[in-house]
């Protein structure tokens, strides 16, 4: 029983990492109708930026703040101007491929230009362990989980409850109509990518101590996040959290009780089960009425 609890809890800790990365996916989908296959790299870059700033002597949180600003400019504004603006109107395919290309470029640029090594990353939380009902948990695990929860709920509330959030969704659903209504489309698109950039920084801050700063950390992180977002429901931010936790926990349970070698198939199996009765993901909204 304690073993089971231990597994579940560790799974939740990993799951909240997936959720953080997945949050970016759902945000971009809801607010710009795009999928960013470089999402993992968007986490990797800030991780290295923070390392560099930390090396220059900044404390971790200050490094985080500076990185956020930088990310908003580069990953937010730069991405919008360079990729989103010219490609958004052509639908999903070109932007998906452009971000795949971008991911390859970022990953290999980092490798060639900086380092092919894994670098340790300081944790926001003290390295402390607790015993809790026989389960060992680290402060970092709990902290990540709590912060992930807060970020997910915050993003969700922003999108659903503020007029800006809804305007962002409106742009994604029908850009031309949004223009006609006088919604400042470029600004909404910028907000979307700026928020995404800040979320990526937050994710980097929380996941890198476990993932380690490495040029290819984004690859597996991005894939897992995509899984999580799909299972939870792509058009819902809370879905990202639910999906992340489910994938994290189930993977762990499968590794322990079924077959470690096949644990990566778990996400697929859950997904297949989910689409049998909810093709739009667990928390996804059904897109109504097509005719």
């Amino acid at each position: 029983m304690t073993d089971l609890l231990q597994l579940v809890f560790s799974g939740m800790a990993t799951g909240s990492i997936y959720a953080l990365a997945a949050l970016g996916f759902t945000l971009l989908w809801q607010a710009s109708g795009t999928v960013n296959f470089a999402q993992g790299e968007f986490v990797m870059l800030p991780a290295f930026a923070m390392l560099v700033f930390a090396k220059l002597g900044l404390p971790l949180l200050a490094a985080f703040a500076v990185t956020c600003v930088l990310a908003v400019v580069v990953l937010g504004w730069g991405f919008k101007r360079g990729i989103a603006d010219p490609l958004l109107k052509f639908g999903l395919m070109p932007i998906v491929v452009a971000t795949i290309g971008l991911a390859i470029a970022i990953r290999n640029g980092m490798r060639a230009g900086y380092s092919a090594e894994a670098h340790p990353f300081p944790s926001l939380f003290a390295d402390r362990l607790f015993q809790f009902a026989g389960v060992t948990v680290s402060l970092a695990d709990v902290g990540t989980l709590v912060l992930a929860l807060a970020l997910v709920l915050g993003t969700q509330a922003f999108l659903a409850r503020t007029i800006t959030g809804r305007a962002m969704q409106a742009v994604a659903q029908n850009t031309e109509s949004a223009t006609v209504l006088g919604i400042d489309v470029p600004r909404m698109v910028f907000y979307t990518f700026a928020i995404n950039a800040v979320l990526a920084c937050a994710a980097a801050l929380l996941v890198t101590p476990t993932y380690l700063a490495k040029f290819d950390m984004g690859e597996s992180l991005g894939t897992k996040a995509f899984f999580a977002a799909i299972i939870g429901g792509f058009n819902n931010s809370r879905g990202a959290l639910l999906g992340g936790l489910i994938v994290g926990v189930c993977e762990n349970l499968a590794a322990a009780y079924i077959s470690p070698a096949y644990k990566d198939a778990v996400a697929l199996v859950i997904f297949m089960a989910v689409i049998l009765f909810k093709p739009q993901g667990l928390l996804g909204k059904k897109v109504e009425r097509k005719v």
Partner: protein
């Protein structure tokens, strides 16, 4: 025509990519009046409205609004600085958002407070829409959606209203209501209306002027009553939408 012109096209050439639909088009719509834009399918009526509202780039020519040059102005500027509102053809809602949220976004240039205060006014005009206030916009019926769209534009209390075939999908009673409403706006508030309609007969009855387009060119511009009174009017409807020579404005 000596009337005070609200909208003026001066030799406007515009279209989609390389394909030019409007060809050195000159066109005027008078202030405080309802101008009806008619023509066969594909004549370029919607293109006129889209160009005017800054959604299409001009290749040539100028557009003036109350004398002021607005060539190349963005929709947002037209909305906020010139009081122009536009109801495009087809469906233009945010399907996954609720009816109320759609209305709120309609007033995004007004500010939330102001918008919320005005929403009940609009809902009073369209009771069907009020009943479905918290449903997703995409779940509404075709006509209900159109009503919502018209309401969303009226929310802005525009000085100039561009409206593209409002009658599509609306039931006869509602069409009457909308036409009457437009008439009232023009008469009482001096709103300039430029309206495209295929429902020509009833539209002519409520409009002040009529403009006919064919293949991107203006072929007729007359006061609506004069046109209605013309004995040749039936030929306008039977001749494939083409304006018979007897009706055309030289």
């Amino acid at each position: 025509m000596s009337m005070d012109a609200a909208i003026t096209f001066e030799g406007v050439t515009a279209g989609y990519g390389e394909l030019m639909i409007l060809d050195r088009l000159d066109l005027r719509a008078a202030r405080g009046r309802i101008t009806l834009l008619i023509g066969p399918n594909g004549a370029g009526k919607s293109t006129v409205l889209k160009t005017l509202f800054g959604l299409l780039k001009l290749r040539q020519g100028r557009i003036r609004l109350f004398g002021e040059d607005i060539t190349g102005a963005k929709p947002r500027e037209l909305l906020t600085q010139h009081g122009v509102a536009f109801v495009p053809q087809g469906r233009n809602l945010f399907g996954q958002l609720s009816v109320y949220e759609n209305l709120e976004l309609g007033g995004i240039t007004l500010g939330t407070q102001e918008t919320r205060a005005r929403i009940p006014e609009v809902l009073a005009l369209f009771p069907r829409v009020r009943e479905r206030l918290h449903s997703a916009a995409s779940s509404l019926s075709g006509g209900e959606q159109k009503q919502l769209e018209v309401g969303r534009a009226l929310l802005l209390r525009p000085k100039v209203l561009l409206i593209d075939e409002p009658s599509i999908g609306l039931s006869p009673l509602v069409v009457q209501d909308v036409f009457r409403l437009l008439r009232r706006l023009a008469d009482e508030q001096g709103v300039t209306v430029l309206m495209v309609e295929q429902n020509v007969k009833s539209a002519l009855k409520m409009a002040d002027d009529a403009i006919a387009l064919e293949a991107g060119r203006l072929v007729l511009h007359k006061p609506a009553p004069q046109l209605l009174a013309d004995p040749d009017i039936e030929r306008l409807f039977l001749g494939g939408g083409h304006v018979p020579a007897s009706l055309a404005t030289p």
